[in-house]
């Protein structure tokens, strides 16, 4: 998001926060518009329109899948459906009036859009008429979203979709200015949808209207960079009319200011000296490489947590408390605590849907594995998947493994030392020194892990790591 986009959305959020009635629908309208507005330019012009339409279409279909029968027919939902329909039609009408609303003057012809609406309506009808097959539809929806997510995150598959299915020409080698294919917000949208479908399958999903559901999935402050809330928590916030207090205004203003400063001043400055492929290949000194690695470590934190602050501040202006995503992660004395304070909403998601179920399954097996092996398998699997969530590449996979192993080693180490640590490390200066040592080691462990996350190949990351520690 640019500063201008954030400024406009902040003003809109403040206005929505003042509404006594219709807050939900106003939020939904802005969120739906934001889905179009925040979508960047695409290599094929039509995609700038169709990807947001697909996002909204998937949200509606997912709601039909997950909502109970009586909710599907509630009058309240027609308002939300009308808002979504109106926003899509308004953006589409650019084509006919030659207007350039949201930079989408080249929207497709209305017949194509009508066909999409008819398709969604027909699907809704089929789903309604086959209520007995609801579980099958839910599983199909879950698998479908997961597959789509995997395809978009796998460079090879994504390229195939881009060039074969969407007929986007392959850029010539060395040609500059190639616009990348980006489905804005889909990583977060997909995980919110998977959460609701999974909870519906297990019977834990509370009843939510289309308005609540769509607001939850595409809530504009959290659309591009999270946090990933839980629908029951978000729905409760939406339903509770919260007159804004002075404390809310102050909190919102502070978070917005801090977030903007982190993202657009600190992170953007650090970007110049953040470790990168060209820097690694041209810089000979390991000391400078450490400087650039630290710069990247702080940059990624400031960038991401800055966006989270902005999202939380905007949400607060509308009376919505979004969950925290960061809690001073680089000041944590071990890697377990680091992961309890870094991208917390994502790790919470994986804890709920991967770590805990997998742990339970392994522990309750007929011939359970040794505890240490269960911990190893579960932590590595979870962190591997968190790595792959960022993209199905070797770099992200190794980054996940790096942290999985780190968590396992810390778990075993703390288990081993629990009763063996000398008394001087348990209080006073000794404890403070141990804490500081822990912070130092954890930060550097995490920083070295960023090499696999940021550099273009694991080989380059490994060679750089060896140079950093003086082994190459």
């Amino acid at each position: 998001m640019s500063v201008l986009q954030i400024a406009v959305l902040v003003v809109l959020a403040a206005a929505v926060g003042q509404l006594r009635n219709g807050r939900q629908l106003a939020m939904l309208g802005i969120s739906a518009l934001a889905v179009f507005w925040l979508q960047p330019d695409e290599p094929a012009p039509g995609l700038r329109f169709w990807l947001p339409v697909a996002t909204l279409g998937i949200v509606v279909v997912a709601w039909i899948l997950t909502a109970s029968a009586e909710l599907r027919s509630r009058r309240l939902d027609w308002g939300a459906a009308l808002v979504l329909f109106t926003i899509v039609v308004v953006v589409e009408l650019n084509h006919y009036f030659g207007a350039d609303v949201l930079g989408m003057a080249g929207t497709p012809r209305v017949e194509m859009l009508a066909a999409v609406f008819v398709g969604i309506a027909a699907l809704a009808l089929v789903l309604a008429r086959t209520r007995g097959m609801n579980r099958i539809w839910l599983i199909a929806g879950f698998v479908g979203i997961l597959l789509l997510f995997i395809m978009l995150k796998t460079p090879f598959l994504e390229n195939s979709i881009e060039h074969s299915l969407l007929r986007i020409p392959v850029p010539r080698a060395g040609a500059g200015g190639v616009i990348p294919f980006t489905w804005m917000g889909f990583s977060y949208v997909a995980f919110r949808l998977l959460h609701t479908i999974r909870d519906r399958l297990s019977g834990r999903l509370p009843p939510v209207t289309l308005g609540e559901y769509a607001n939850y999935v595409v809530f504009f402050p959290a659309f591009t960079a999270g946090p990933i809330d839980r629908v029951e928590r978000f729905g409760a916030e939406l339903r509770t009319p919260l007159p804004l207090t002075n404390a809310d205004w102050l909190e919102a203003g502070t978070r917005l200011f801090v977030g903007l400063f982190k993202k657009f001043v600190l992170a953007d400055l650090l970007a110049v000296i953040s470790i990168s492929d060209p820097l690694v290949s041209q810089v000979k000194s390991a000391a400078w490489l450490w400087v650039f690695l630290y710069a990247y470590s702080f940059r990624i934190y400031l960038d991401f947590s800055g966006y989270t602050d902005i999202a939380i501040g905007m949400g607060r202006l509308m009376g919505i408390r979004l969950p925290e995503n960061f809690a001073a992660p680089y000041l944590k004395p071990n890697v377990t605590q680091f992961w309890n304070s870094w991208h917390m909403s994502l790790t919470q998601w994986f804890r709920s849907y991967v770590f805990n179920p997998l742990s339970r399954a392994l522990r309750s097996a007929e011939r359970p594995l040794p505890v240490w092996l269960i911990i190893l398998v579960v932590q590595i699997s979870t962190m591997l998947l968190i790595g792959l969530w960022h993209g199905v590449t070797w770099g992200f996979a190794i980054w996940g493994l790096w942290h999985g192993l780190g968590l396992f080693v810390h778990n075993r180490w703390s288990n081993f030392t629990r009763s063996r640590m000398p008394a001087w490390t348990q209080a006073g200066r000794g404890q403070a020194a141990m804490h500081a040592l822990g912070v130092f080691l954890t930060f550097n462990f995490v920083a070295l892990g960023w090499l696999f996350f940021n550099l273009s190949s694991p080989e380059l990351a490994w060679r750089t790591l060896l140079r950093l520690v003086g082994l190459a």
Binding site: G176, N246, A247, L269, P278, L279
Partner: protein
């Protein structure tokens, strides 16, 4: 307690303080461009930084501003465009460093070359660069030009816009006032506030941070892949809106040459028509390359030779010096071998200038 604070009053106070800080900054008009980490905390750069849009700040980052001239040095400034700057080449392979690597000396003094070129050719921008560099006591100047250097356009003048007041004064002093619009408006009081200058201040901060990359590995630009030159060109005979048969020098920057001569004073200036890629394929009888039709470029060569002669400056026509294979992405950009050939071609003339 935080809840006792009234947001509206807090906001009002914040707005007032913000406005006061802006007014104070604009009133004091501090020369922030003089703040530089280069040449004391970090080593000075061997080329002017690009994308800075502030000539003063760029010079403060350059090694020339931190290196006092000693009696054994013969100081030569290289003025020009991206070819002289060495775009797409590490600084060690750029013209200035290739010449320094030749370890030339004349009449007991060591020749030291300073790369003061900037991407985007412009004779008028070079006029400002020369003006800024005179305080560093040059002994001679090598001025590398191409036809585009004489195209009246504003973009290459971005670096002087930050000091547009001084730029306009200089233009008027040298009877070039007709170009004052190209250097941008003189900022009003509001235009000097940090809010209005946020972009420039941000770039200045980035320049200082970028010094770490420079110190660590002499990195001063980001490499990216490129498409090599094509041997065939379009049959379009026009150049930037000029059509054959006559290239009117009155519509170009040729009137900058005289003021440049006055500005240089007695400094010897070697004028060079810089090497360019010459296409050999389709339509090469019409155009030299994608940038220049033959008729326009040939007339420019004659005009430049005449202009140099009028000022009594030595002139070298090197437009066909370098083979096609030693160019990179655009008709002016040389590879390391091309820059080396250029350095070797001009070295004898410079030696003669240094020790007549």
């Amino acid at each position: 307690m935080i809840c006792d604070v009234r947001p509206s009053r807090l906001l009002a106070k914040a707005v007032i303080i913000f406005a006061l800080l802006n007014v104070a900054f604009a009133g004091l008009d501090p020369t922030v461009e003089r703040l530089s980490v280069f040449n004391w905390f970090l080593p000075g750069r061997l080329r002017l930084p690009i994308h800075v849009d502030d000539l003063q700040a760029s010079f403060n980052a350059h090694v020339i501003s931190g290196l006092p001239k000693d009696s054994g040095e013969y100081r030569i400034l290289l003025l020009g465009d991206s070819q002289t700057w060495g775009l797409r080449l590490p600084v060690q392979q750029s013209l200035g460093q290739q010449m320094n690597a030749m370890h030339l000396s004349a009449c007991g003094r060591k020749l030291r070359f300073y790369n003061l070129a900037l991407p985007f050719a412009s004779a008028l921008r070079d006029f400002f660069v020369l003006s800024e560099s005179l305080k560093y006591e040059p002994d001679s100047v090598v001025w590398l030009l191409t036809l585009n250097s004489f195209l009246p356009r504003a973009e290459p003048l971005d670096p002087v816009k930050a000091q547009s007041q001084a730029a306009v004064s200089l233009l008027e002093q040298y009877a070039l006032g007709r170009y004052r619009d190209l250097v941008g408006p003189i900022p009003s009081f509001l235009g000097r506030t940090p809010t209005a200058e946020a972009g420039r201040l941000h770039r200045l901060a980035l320049l200082q941070l970028d010094g770490m990359r420079w110190t660590a590995g002499m990195i001063d630009f980001d490499t990216s892949p490129y498409e090599p030159q094509k041997s065939g060109v379009l049959d379009d005979p026009t150049w930037e809106g000029f059509a054959p048969p006559e290239l009117d020098p009155a519509q170009l920057f040729f009137d900058v040459v005289g003021p440049m001569h006055r500005l240089a004073g007695g400094l010897p200036v070697l004028v060079i028509s810089e090497p360019m890629f010459i296409a050999q394929g389709r339509n090469s009888a019409i155009r030299y390359n994608v940038q220049y039709p033959r008729w326009a470029y040939d007339q420019y060569l004659a005009l430049l030779q005449r202009a140099a002669a009028e000022q009594g400056w030595p002139y070298m026509d090197l437009h066909a010096l370098v083979a096609d294979s030693d160019f990179t992405d655009v008709p002016q950009h040389l590879n390391a071998e091309g820059e080396k050939q250029l350095a070797q071609a001009i070295a004898p003339t410079i030696l003669r200038m240094a020790c007549p």
